[in-house]
Subunit: 418 residues, 2 copies
Amino acid sequence: MLAEIITIGDEILIGQIVDTNSAFIARELNNAGIRVKQISSVSDDREHILTALNEAAVRADIILITGGLGPTKDDITKKTLAAYFGVKLIENKEALENVQRIFKRIRGEDAIMLDVNKQQALVPENCEVILNKNGTAPGMWFNHNGKIYVSMPGVPFEMMYMIEDEVIPKLKSTLKLPFIIHKTILTAGEGESYLANRIADIEDDLPSDVKLAYLPKLGQVRLRLSAYGDNEVLLQQKVDEFSARIIERVKNVVVAEEDIPFEQVILNILTEKGQTLSVAESCTGGYISHLFTQHPGASKVFLGGAISYSNELKESMLGVKTETLAQYGAVSEQTVTEMVEGALHVYKSNYALAVTGIAGPDGGTEDKPVGTVWIGVATDGKTQVKKFTFGNKRTQNIERSAISALFMLNNLIKDSGK
Amino acid sequence: MLAEIITIGDEILIGQIVDTNSAFIARELNNAGIRVKQISSVSDDREHILTALNEAAVRADIILITGGLGPTKDDITKKTLAAYFGVKLIENKEALENVQRIFKRIRGEDAIMLDVNKQQALVPENCEVILNKNGTAPGMWFNHNGKIYVSMPGVPFEMMYMIEDEVIPKLKSTLKLPFIIHKTILTAGEGESYLANRIADIEDDLPSDVKLAYLPKLGQVRLRLSAYGDNEVLLQQKVDEFSARIIERVKNVVVAEEDIPFEQVILNILTEKGQTLSVAESCTGGYISHLFTQHPGASKVFLGGAISYSNELKESMLGVKTETLAQYGAVSEQTVTEMVEGALHVYKSNYALAVTGIAGPDGGTEDKPVGTVWIGVATDGKTQVKKFTFGNKRTQNIERSAISALFMLNNLIKDSGK
């Protein structure tokens, strides 16, 4: 069973927004045992949408479409779908009641509905309406020539609800689905080609229904085994066997045996140990805190900390000495040491991390060019600090600093072994 | 002149990574006057890649490909391109030298290069190599049947350098390009359909070479005018005329007259005024600080602040009273007031903002369900606090809290008029 995702919207094609919908839908489909064959992003243009639908129908059995369902004139998906199926638009009672409900909730009981709002309740007459709990544009399910088409709004939180609560359950109840099993191993500290070389013979042994992929990203490499087929037990056995062989071979660099982000690995370890973490962020400016706190349950481990962006706050929040800043500068071994030990002391956590650097694009000097970053991690009685020299791109310097800090912290936690 | 972007990689189709490369490339192409017709994401599969190349060649003049150039066995783009062009792979001297250079830089002068590394220097014989300053996989430029094909690594910072420093300049020098002019107006606080209704007559007047799009996102709507053609002066006049009419009509909700993020608007205003900002983040956990500090020059305005995730840190960092927390709880009008006034006082900034809430999925009660968030903004002598009730999705609650905080802060700055 193959799916294609079509995202509609000029804003994607001019790069104004990143298409995050496709990744979400792809993940949900995969978990349900449906492989995504292709993702296509096309413009708000009738002919182009029709071509994309025709091409997708050749490749896929299920075609999921997002975008172009808004109330405004540039949104033409609904009309185009009606043309594609050769039907007309009709007003749907259920959809109209939903528009009225949402409208009143947002605008108050007495607000007057506009014609453009009412038009949101028009749908191609061959569709089954999927209720949009979070917005006024209805989702639409079509059965046509043996294929399933689903059209959803492009607004992520409207689409996400529909996929999770309506579309996936309906696909599962309608179709007999094959099994897809993924197993991901997260490694850090070794490059893709070295890893590949170390496990080349294991890779050669892989049966044809199991694939291995390398997903490198900023000092980490994810190894992903994927197996497709009908016999779930057999697929699981194969994946288990090969993942065990790979993990045994490269265990010195394995950070996690599941597909979770690095910071989640640390949260899990510290949650289990009942230990806490605080931070002192300068050049990463809250990014590391955000990495931790985006995950449910972070508050069990993460106490908080200082975004000590200015020198004054490095002193007042963390107790960094005025003389240290004057003599060595904010980006120095001495300052990062005082920052991380300050955080550990002031915020009374079991572990602390600190980052201070020059993220750029300005602020570099000959001695300390843009990309110079000092990172420190500490626990009671033990402080480790290290200098990094990254590149000249601000966003990358922030992200690489974060990953490097996680790497140092993870090692410190492992070394502490308590 | 039309382009298509093809991103290759199973990791995209199973939703393990979000394809951010396409948005970056699309933005760069648009700025250079090249329209992107379609973005297609396909799997690491020879036949599928060949089909995608054939389909793209029908639609587009320029085909930009990323991904599948790594040293490992799942990376088959290079072989597939050679087959598509009907040529063989040969070793490229320049590419090999680059592999050696990068390899020694990372591994040290004495490290032994692996065969898989050397194979990175193999390229289809009809290509012109594009140097990869940041990695070992060479970029490749092909002229074939009147079309341009460029293949680049999927690692973002390798691809980004190539696009900016090599591919765009070479496209500009090779082609006679038409003009594309975009103008974006950022609004906040009014829904898409209301906005559309207010400017419906202006939209009706738009000439055929100017398009208007609505890009809604979490309480903000971007209005984007786009004009395509040969006469730059005339296009600019049309865009200027219609953007002026739209701005005049909806000026009460216009936040910016350019395509910049909301937090950048605030940074720009405070930079101009020479004023500063500090934060006290609880449930947003560093996200708002990160929004500000991702932008160059943020340090002129943003002093830093507290990630006061635990109650203890709300007391010790911001001076929130123990009795306040005991009597009203961490998520309350009283606590957010003490937090924001504490930040203003302790961090000595001109403005402060504070957020405390229940991001979820756990931690809600009957009185204060998940999604309950108190936000406060303050300046000398003036504090404004407000309660919000968002939904039950953690990530969205964090993002909506951030946007709402920016909205309140922007209004406070405007009202303060100093």
